[in-house]
């Protein structure tokens, strides 16, 4: 404890004792108001505290105790009578002094919290005028009281609190405080004003040309803080100006703060200036104070005091406003932080990058090939390392183009709203899985099919409210859009809780159109999926929206063009769910390379379930029935070589089966060779090959040859259909 601390401790203790005595004296004065000794002790208490506070530079205590002392002196001189009112005010003053002492001992700056300052101001006004008013005029009207400095309390709720501390040179600079006050009166009502000559020396030391005047003003006005501040603009150099907005204004400022846009993080000061709670000058001033405090604290790199704290200390703004501004700032920061993570990039640039990455993947494969071919064991480690890097570059590059499907989903809100109105139906749209990501190019292309399917659901699926109620369902129908990832694909579901599909009707129509034969043997699911066949609409009457018999087949074609598939499932009376499966990206896939004869093919790895040697025990092939028995699982199969007409010459070639899966369907692809995983950059086939069955694209291999990318879905279908064209001469496979 250094000497100053010791002195402070003594001061605190002394003050505490004096205040305790003061309280006792005041209470006894209630009984014995004429005891001059008691009054003397009150006077001495304030006087002593004032004196010692002055030593420590505790200006707020000095200022307040001075007022109390002055009053008590008057009482002592018999100029003022003491009564229970005055005793009450003095008791409160005593408490106030205790608070001031506590503040000065604990706070760093001399500035008082607004609340404390307001209390002080009110008490001073009561000490100075209130009582005297009561003595001179009795109880006058409220107006009179205010006019005569009397009992009117300074209400910080409705009034601006303006504090003016003129500097000594003011008069010499031609700055007369009176001019500004007169001008201020043109902007509103000065409800209360306290004029003090704080620190005015006595006797010779007082220079009458120096200004010692300080003012505290309760001002009622509709003017903005800026306008009020501008009243004193010419005094800015000669005066400490503090303007505290009325508490009643806080709500307004808070609302304005809340409404501030969140597109950029701004400084607290700027935010409060914008709403009008602060002026530029306030902020400048506080910043100077901040800088000064940093400079004065040269020791151990003390942190600068937060600006908000300084502003509150300087009585130019209330704490709640600072709190709110800080909160808002934090919100904005977070919002921007999440937004700042995005950079807008020209999609073509991105496309170019992804193409280059594709080339890089191919080059990397070529390099691996050479390294292997020449048995460069030295280089293989390096090649492997580079391969891994290329892989991650590829993944990252593809991710760049990934967007969330949520925005696309949200657009359908409008469609659902408009259409349900048009159809006189009550339909809500529920969206889930909006955060699921997929390639932007896929998103763009799925828009139209999705629109069509949703319109279908609205039009054909959801019934009119009366029908729904009759069916015991809520009048409001629900269409649900959902998305999720599943083994390298995104699945988008459109589900409605409408009438569902009538399999009889579909079948009836399909039979009429000659799509199926009488002994079709189709499962219910297969029947439902017939609605994707061309020329089949089950809606009895076509509406303007959908159901002209074109549509579902087009939807299916569009989705397949994206190497996706669409499936429908329905429960009559309960609703329909359409699931669209799409590859996440159209550019590069992890492939599994297989070979027949000299040809090589790529199967998207995500569709490969497993690979087995044909000769293995757990796998039996039934060439007659055309199925594979894989550990008791019965699979249709397809010989790739036969299918593509490049039958191998070597009949002894050991064959392998690649089990592929697409959605609910699976099949075995019989191949000659398994080459393993291969990064595949998809090169679209030209228009000429568009109609080619079983192939979706091609890729360039490391050695420069071309491998075809298999259309797994089509091949599975071909296997199931057990009449692959190339195998037409073979006995037909029966469904098992």
């Amino acid at each position: 404890m250094n000497e100053l601390d010791t002195a402070l401790a003594i001061f605190a203790q002394e003050a505490e004792e004096l205040l305790a005595d003061m309280e006792d004296a005041l209470l006894s004065l209630d009984q014995d108001p004429d005891n001059s000794e008691t009054v003397n002790s009150l006077f001495r208490a304030m006087h002593t505290i004032k004196g010692s506070s002055g030593l420590f530079g505790f200006e707020p205590i000095v200022a307040f105790t001075h007022e109390a002392e002055t009053l008590l002196d008057k009482v002592r001189q018999g100029e003022r009578a003491i009564d229970s009112n005055l005793i009450a005010v003095l008791l409160e003053s005593k408490d106030h002094v205790a608070k001031l002492i506590e503040h000065c001992l604990n706070a760093n700056g001399p500035a008082l919290p607004a609340e404390l300052a307001a209390t002080g101001l009110r008490l001073i006004s009561q000490l100075n005028g209130g009582v005297q008013t009561a003595i001179q005029q009795g109880t006058g009207s409220a107006d009179e009281k205010i006019f005569s400095e009397g009992g009117g309390e300074i209400s910080v709720d409705e009034h601006w609190l303006i504090s003016l501390e003129f500097k000594q040179d003011s008069f010499r600079d031609g700055i007369d405080p009176l001019s500004f006050l007169r001008y201020l009166k043109t902007l509103g009502d000065i409800k209360q004003i306290l004029t003090a000559a704080n620190g005015m020396p006595s006797g010779e030391a007082m220079d009458p040309e120096s200004c010692y005047l300080h003012f505290k003003i309760a001002f009622q006005s509709e003017a903005t803080k800026e306008t009020i501040e501008r009243v004193f603009e010419f005094a800015a150099d000669d005066c400490e100006i503090k303007i505290l907005p009325p508490n009643a204004k806080i709500g307004e400022y808070l609302a304005l703060l809340d409404a501030q846009d969140e597109t950029q993080v701004r400084r607290i000061g700027d935010m409060l200036v914008q709403v009008g709670a602060l002026t530029e000058h306030d902020v400048e001033h506080a910043l100077q104070a901040q800088t000064a405090s940093v400079e004065s604290q040269t020791v151990d790199g003390a942190k600068p005091k937060p600006l908000g704290e300084i502003l509150v200390e300087q009585h130019v703004v209330q704490q709640p406003l600072i709190d709110q501004a800080l909160k808002k700032q934090e919100q904005t920061k977070q919002k921007i932080a999440s937004e700042a993570n995005y950079i807008r990039v020209d999609a073509t640039k991105l496309g170019h990058l992804i193409n280059l990455v594709g080339e890089l993947v191919i080059s990397s494969a070529a390099m691996n090939l050479i390294v292997e071919k020449h048995g460069l064991s030295d280089a293989s480690d390096i090649a492997a390392g580079m391969n891994a890097l290329v892989n991650s570059i590829r993944d990252t590059a593809l991710e760049l183009r990934m967007v969330q499907i949520g925005d696309t989903f949200s657009r359908f809100r409008r469609v659902v709203h408009d259409v349900s109105k048009e159809l006189n139906k009550d339909i809500q749209l529920l969206i889930s899985g909006g955060e699921t990501e997929l390639d932007k190019t896929v998103v763009e292309k799925i828009q139209d099919p999705l629109t069509h399917l949703i319109r279908n659901a609205l039009d054909h699926g959801i019934e009119h409210p009366e029908q729904r109620l009759a069916a015991g369902k809520p009048a409001q129908g629900t269409v649900q859009l959902n998305a999720y990832h599943e083994s390298g694909h995104i699945v988008i579901q459109i589900a409605d809780d409408g009438a569902g599909l009538n399999s009889e009707k579909i079948l009836e129509k399909a039979l009429a159109n000659g799509l199926v034969k009488k002994d079709h043997g189709l499962s219910r699911r297969e029947i439902y999926n017939l609605i994707f066949a061309a020329g089949l609409s089950t809606k009895d009457q076509a509406t303007s929206l959908s159901g002209r018999g074109v549509g579902m087949d087009v939807v299916k074609k569009n989705i397949e063009a994206l190497r996706g598939s669409v499936e429908i499932d329905s429960e009559e009376g309960q609703g329909t769910t359409i699931s669209i499966r799409l590859p996440l990206t159209l550019a590069i896939i992890d492939g599994f390379m297989v070979g027949t004869a000299s040809e090589r093919y790529i199967i998207p790895l995500s569709m490969v379930d497993e690979c087995i040697e044909m000769s293995a025990n757990e796998c039996e092939i039934d060439e007659i029935q055309h199925y594979i028995n894989l550990r008791g699982r019965v699979l249709p199969y397809l010989r790739l070589g036969d299918y593509f007409g490049n039958t191998t010459a070597n009949a002894n070639q050991r064959e392998s089966v690649v089990v592929v899966k697409f959605g609910q369907t699976e099949a075995g692809l019989v191949v000659d060779e398994l080459h393993g995983e291969h990064q595949t950059v998809i090169k679209p086939l030209g228009k000429v090959f568009e109609r080619l069955k079983g192939i979706t694209g091609a890729t360039v291999l490391g050695d420069g040859t071309v491998a075809l990318i298999l259309d797994v879905q089509g091949l599975i279908q071909a296997a199931i259909d057990h009449k692959p064209k190339a195998l037409a001469h073979k006995p037909a496979l029966r469904r098992v």
Partner: protein, 110 residues
């Protein structure tokens, strides 16, 4: 500006200030009035002739009051002119001085 001594007794003085009480003459006024404060027990200042008073002038009155209190001199301000009353009301100092103020019906606005 002029200070006129209207009445002087060993213990009391009655002064009249005329004209302007402003930054231009507060030094002079302070000097003169302080001298009286050192010699009397009672001082009355007649302000009826004060045509103009500014911030420095008001401050001087406040100073005189402070000095008088310290020196136990009974200081009273009397016959405030319109200009003085306007300023005292503006600054809410009427009760600070505690002197009775007589407001003339002729004054334009208060």
């Amino acid at each position: 500006m002029a200070i006129e001594v209207k009445q002087q007794q060993p213990d009391s003085v009655h002064l009249v200030i005329d004209g302007e009480v402003s930054i231009y003459n507060v030094s002079e006024l302070k000097q003169a009035l302080s001298n009286y404060l050192d010699t009397v027990k009672e001082m009355q200042i007649d302000l009826a002739g004060v045509a103009e008073i500014d911030g420095a002038g008001v401050q001087l009155l406040m100073f005189l009051k402070q000095e008088a209190a310290a020196k136990r001199v009974e200081l009273s301000l009397a016959r405030h002119s319109e200009a003085v009353v306007e300023v005292l009301e503006l600054l809410n100092l009427s009760t600070h001085f505690g002197d009775p103020i007589v407001i003339s019906a002729d004054w334009k606005s208060l």
